[in-house]
């Protein structure tokens, strides 16, 4: 089955899912960062230009800091997110899912020099498109990756109804599907709800809206409501 997830299993047998972020969101985050940094530089350069050569020197120092230190400082101190990445809900983590530390962050940002070849990030783009986890060369060398952190807004609450006990024992996946149906039934048309509920006639023994009601009752029972 095709998916964008990188699965990591911990020694305790817990599997962590990292949702790798692809080229498009990353390019958008980079663009946001670029405009932010340009804005800061321009705002600072206007008053600095009043101070002649010294001011120019300060402006160049600021430019250097914005180009090289900004990403590293943000990634280490702001939880792996530059401001652009935060806006797009992305985060840099180590390939094993742990928070990124100084050395990997410095390495991946220094290797921007290579990724930016031949001047317009061509190498980085091609690398991101080819790699299955959308890593650029800097990420591959530093052992990091960029993941999605923002969750979908949670579904609606399960509508409360009198709980109906399940006649048979269901495995965890099936229970989750029942609860998910109850949560998302508000977003579906009534016809579609009935269509889905009719699939489970062997379980409910009913059809159409009665079946929908019974499934929601089952979901209430699974959630431990009275």
């Amino acid at each position: 089955m095709l998916d964008t997830i990188r699965e990591i299993e911990t020694p305790e047998g817990i599997s962590l899912h990292l949702r790798a972020a692809g080229a498009l969101p990353r390019a958008q985050a980079w663009t946001v960062d670029l405009f932010l940094r340009m804005g800061v530089f321009m705002l600072a350069a206007i008053p600095l230009s009043l101070f002649g050569v010294g001011g120019k020197g300060l402006a160049l120092l600021l430019l250097f800091a914005l180009m090289w230190a900004y990403s590293v400082v943000c990634e280490v101190w702001l939880g792996g997110q530059t401001l652009g990445k935060r806006a797009l809900g992305l985060r840099v983590v180590n390939a094993d899912g742990t928070p990124v530390t100084w050395l990997p962050s410095v390495v991946r940002n220094l290797l921007r020099v290579v990724d930016a070849l031949p001047g317009v990030y061509g190498v980085g783009l091609i690398s991101t498109l080819i790699d299955p986890h959308a890593r650029r060369l800097g990420d591959i060398v530093a052992g990091t990756m960029v993941i999605h952190v923002s969750e979908l807004p949670a579904g609606q609450q399960v509508p409360s109804q009198a709980a109906v006990p399940l006649p048979v024992v269901l495995v965890a996946d099936e229970q989750a599907a029942l609860v998910e149906f109850a949560e998302r039934s508000g977003q579906l048309t009534p016809q579609r709800q009935e269509e889905l509920a009719n699939l489970l006639t062997p379980l409910t023994g009913r059809n159409d809206s009665a079946a929908v009601r019974q499934l929601i009752g089952h979901a209430n029972w699974l959630l431990g409501r009275p």
């Binding site: 089955m1 095709l2 998916d3 964008t4 997830i5 949702r19 790798a20 972020a21 692809g22 080229a23 498009l24 969101p25 390019a27 958008q28 797009l88 809900g89 031949p118 001047g119 317009v120 990030y121 061509g122 190498v123 783009l125 091609i126 498109l129 080819i130 299955p132 959308a134 999605h148 923002s150 969750e151 979908l152 048979v168 269901l170 996946d173 099936e174 989750a176 599907a177 998910e180 149906f181 998302r184 977003q187 579906l188 579609r192 889905l196 699939l199 489970l200 006639t201 062997p202 379980l203």
Partner: protein, 507 residues
Amino acid sequence: MELERISVVLRPRAPREALDLGAAMLRANAGAVWSAWFAFTLPVFVICNALGVMLDLPWLGLVLMWWLKPLFDRLPLYVLSRAVFDRTPNWRETLRGQRQWSWRSTVAALSWLRIDSNRALRLPMELLEGAPRKLRSARWKVLRRRIVADTSLLTYGCLQFELVLFLSAWLLGAMLIPHEWRADSLGDFFRNDVRDASTAWLLLAAAMAYLAMSAIEPLYVACGFALYLNRRTQLEAWDIDLAFRRMRTRLQGLGKVLGMLLACTCAWPLSGQAATPSGVPRKPSATSLQQVFRQPVDSADARFAAAAAETYRDPRFGGEYTTRKWVFKYTPKAQPNAQPIPFPAFGAALAIVFKALMWLLLIVAIAALLRFAWRWRGQLAPTPDEPASAMSPGVRVSVVADAPLPADLAGAARALWQAQHQREALALLYRGCVEQTARLLKVPPSADATEADWLRQAAAIDDPARAQRAIAIVRTWQFAAYAGRYPDDAGMEHLLSGWPVEAGASA
């Protein structure tokens, strides 16, 4: 549509994540997509450019290839929409399959909808659903809700990527050209080189643009298709549909097994019941909690109520407690400011800055004080060698550990003792004792032996009287050195007479 055959993991994703699913789908089916793509677009590219050259309009190839993009989009979409259901077509099937799809939407996309930032999403809706016109606009309204911004961003992002690849190719070429062959400036390059052979340069540009487009356009279509899939998963709960179908097949299988079992169990008691005497009433099986526990399980149960009340009295699980606190009876009136400041916000900001500076200054001052206190701690303390300076140099030398002991040990120690240098006198006595003990036991006196070591050594002396005296001297020295407790004059005199101070004495 057979949802069971789907080869991607369906779950509601954020639109941005759906874009990444599109890239993953394209990566998985790269061979099928690009073989079909080049099989169709490469001849078109050649024809367009040949047409441009023949009409003496060399830019025509570049423009036409860009204009025909919506036509080319059909190929990746065909491959991906089949590959999602695990039926990847080869390029011949793809080209042949284009006849099944209506051309009406492509004509629209090539004419009045050519500049449309939602093409990626419109494409799968129109080609895969093929709904009649009236339904289509309603459908489009539902489909685009909430993801129209992401679709537009996708379009601009892909445009940007194409530009990046196009420019990268040129810049890479420029890097590889030797310095002496390059034009002096970009202006020169366009004024001289390009004008001299404009057709060749334009054809080269068209080729580069075609390659960049070939790399990115399938990605654009795939991402749009993934957005479409995700939206339909949201709208129609495809993932739940799949889970329910799986559950249904399992339950139906289970139902058959259960039916068999039921039939068996029904058949068996029929034969068995005849043997049992029918007069014995059968015990009814418990069907509810009340019957199982033989008591009511609700609030009417007195024991349960008592236990619950007991639990609530436990302070860990609740209970009542009283808190006391002081509250102002009246609120103090705010003092009106003496005079309003101009730019209050600016003034406040300035005040905060200066406040921070003052705090910083205070911290620095305290840190500096601490630092100097640490550095000068030895020099400012009262000099510890004052009593030593009062001592004559001769005395000092005899006390220092590595100086040889004076010949008249008892006299030297007594002189020190009477000159109130009690500690030094005892130190001398201790050293003398140690030396005598070492000589007696024939062990080399070692510099790192402690008082405890010498106590142990003294215990090994054969003569118990001598051993006792040596121990007494070491103990006296220990009391003096570590506790500042000195013996009286008589005690000192007792230690100074006999062994070990007088080496030959018999103790």
